[in-house]
Amino acid sequence: MEMAVFLLFAALALVSSLVVVLHRNPIYAVMSLVVTFVSIAVMFVLLGAPFLAAVQVLVYTGAILVLFLFVIMLLNVSGDSSRGFDLHKALAAVVAAGFALLLLTLFWGRYHGLDLSPLQESDVALKPLARALLDTYLLPFEIVGLLLLAAVTAATVLARRSQDTSS
C-alpha cells in the first residue's frame, strides 16, 4: 500500500513539476506546482512527518502560491518571451540533467539498500516535535518571527509606491 501510494504521487510530482518548468503560461505553472507540493506533502506523511505535511499544504499551497497567483494577476504577466528550442535551453537541460545525475549517484551509492523499518505510533507523535521546536530551538523560532517582521516591512515598502503610477 505504502509503495503504491509512493509510486502514484512520485509520478504525479515528476509530471507536474515538468509542467511547471515547461508550460509557457505562469498560471498553469502555479497550478501544477500546487499538485507537486501536495504530492510532496503525501511523501512527508509516508515519511512519518504528518505535521510537516499539513504545514506544507497550509502554508505553501494555501498561502505562498496564492501570493504568486496574485502577483501574476497584478502584473498581468502572460507567457514567456523565449520560444522554441535554442542553444541556451539545450545547455540548461544538460546542466540540469548532469546535476540531477550527480545527486542521484551520490544518494544511490550511499543509501541504496537501506530499508526503513515500519513506523511506530510513537514515531509520529506530535508533542515531541512541538517541544523540540519551542524548547531546543526556541531562539531560531523567535528569529523566524523577527525575519517575518522584516519581510512584511520590506515587502510593504517595496510594493507600496504603486499608488503614484498605477491603479
Binding site: 500546487v34 499544504v57 496564492v66
Partner: protein, 346 residues
C-alpha cells in the same frame, strides 16, 4: 478487501450521501425561508410544499446547454468547478460523529480519518478552495469574473486567518488536533446542568468563527464575490449547466461542513449531555450522527435567516471588518484562552 477498507468506504459513503443531499434540501429551505421572511409563497407547484422543486432544478441543470466562452481558457474553465467540489466534499473526513464502537467484533472509530493531525487536515484541504475561485475568474476571460475572483480570494484568505486563530484557541486547552479529543473535552457540565461546551467560555472565539464562516462560504452579508448588482454573478458569470451547479453544490457543502465543524468545536459535536450512548453499534452511530446533524442544521438555518435579514457589505467595509475587527479580536481571544489554560482555569 480488508475490514478497515470496507469500514472506511462505508463511512465515506454515508458522509458523501448526506452532503449530496444538503444542496437540494438547502435550496428548498432557502427559497421557502426567504419567502416566509418576505411574506411571499415561494416554490409551491412541484410536489407537496414545492418539495420536488429541487429535483426539477437538478434535472434542469443537467440538461441545460453547457457554454464555454470562445475567449475562455478551456482547460482551466473545466477544471475550476471540479476544484470547487473536491475540497467541499472531502473536508468531512476528520469530523467525528460518535464514540468508538465495536462492530462485527472489531473496534471502529466513528470518524473517517482518525489521523493525529486532525483539524489541520481539514484546514489544509479547505485552504485549497481558493484556487477554484481564482481559476474560474481567470479562465473565463471576463471582467466581472476576474473582479469577482480577486475579491473572493482576498476575502477568503483574510477571513481564513480569523477562522484559524479561533480554531487554535479551541485547541489550546485540549492539547490535541484530533476533533474527537475536542468533543471529549466538552463532555460534562458546569454547575451540574450547563453543558461544558466551548461556546460558553470562548464566546468571543465562537463569534469570530461564525462571522468568518459566513465570509468563507461567500454568503450574505459577505457575498461580495457575486454581488449581483455590481458584478453580475462574480467569478461564475460565464458558467452554466452542471459546471455552475458544481460551484453551487460546493458552496452549500462548504456551509454544511463548516456547520459540522462549528458544532464540533463549540457545541459539543456528536455528544449530548444526558444521552446515553449505549446499545448496538448502529444505534450509537445513528444517535451520534443525528445529534451532530441536528446541531449543524441549527447553523444552516441561521445561515438562511441571516442571508435574508442583512444587507450586503461594501468591499472595503468587508476587509476592514476582517482585518481590523475580527483578526485583533481573534488574537485577543487566543491570548486570553492561552493565559486561562496556563493559569489552570480551562
Amino acid at each position: 478487501m480488508s475490514f478497515e477498507l470496507l469500514a472506511t468506504l462505508a463511512k465515506t459513503g454515508l458522509w458523501m450521501a448526506l452532503l449530496l443531499q444538503v444542496t437540494p434540501i438547502m435550496v428548498w429551505v432557502e427559497r421557502r425561508g426567504s419567502a416566509m421572511i418576505q411574506d411571499r409563497l415561494g416554490p409551491n407547484r412541484v410536489g407537496p410544499l414545492g418539495l420536488f422543486q429541487a429535483l426539477a432544478d437538478a434535472v434542469k441543470f443537467m440538461c441545460k446547454e453547457d457554454i464555454t466562452p470562445a475567449e475562455a481558457d478551456k482547460f482551466l474553465h473545466r477544471l475550476a468547478p471540479l476544484l470547487a467540489l473536491v475540497p467541499a466534499l472531502t473536508t468531512f473526513v476528520v469530523i467525528p460523529f460518535g464514540p468508538d464502537v465495536t462492530a462485527f467484533g472489531r473496534q471502529v472509530p466513528l470518524v473517517v480519518a482518525g489521523a493525529e493531525t486532525g483539524v489541520l487536515l481539514l484546514l489544509a484541504l479547505a485552504s485549497l478552495g481558493v484556487y477554484s475561485l481564482v481559476m474560474a475568474g481567470y479562465s473565463s476571460n471576463n471582467k466581472y469574473s476576474l473582479l469577482g475572483a480577486i475579491r473572493a480570494s482576498a476575502q477568503m484568505i483574510s477571513y481564513e486567518l480569523a477562522l484559524t486563530l479561533a480554531v487554535v484557541a479551541v485547541l489550546l486547552p485540549v492539547g490535541s488536533f484530533e476533533l474527537s479529543e475536542v468533543v471529549r473535552y466538552q463532555q460534562g457540565q458546569f454547575l451540574g446542568w450547563i453543558p461544558k461546551w466551548n461556546a460558553l467560555p470562548q464566546f468571543v472565539g465562537f463569534l469570530v468563527f461564525v462571522v468568518a464562516a459566513f465570509a468563507e462560504t461567500n454568503r450574505l452579508p459577505f457575498d461580495l464575490p457575486e454581488a449581483e448588482s455590481e458584478l453580475v454573478a462574480g467569478y461564475h458569470t460565464e458558467y452554466s449547466s452542471m459546471k455552475f451547479a458544481l460551484f453551487f453544490m460546493g458552496e452549500y457543502m462548504g456551509m454544511a461542513t463548516l456547520s459540522c465543524l462549528a458544532a464540533t468545536l463549540y457545541l459539543g459535536g456528536w455528544h449530548l449531555p444526558f444521552l446515553s450512548y449505549s446499545g448496538p453499534w448502529w444505534w450509537v452511530a445513528a444517535q451520534g450522527m443525528g445529534v451532530l446533524v441536528g446541531k449543524a442544521t441549527l447553523f444552516l438555518l441561521f445561515f438562511v435567516w441571516v442571508r435574508w435579514t442583512f444587507p450586503r457589505f461594501r468591499f472595503d467595509q468587508l476587509m476592514r471588518l476582517g482585518w481590523k475587527v475580527l483578526l485583533p479580536l481573534a488574537v485577543l481571544n487566543l491570548i486570553a484562552v492561552a493565559a486561562l489554560t496556563v493559569g489552570g482555569v480551562l
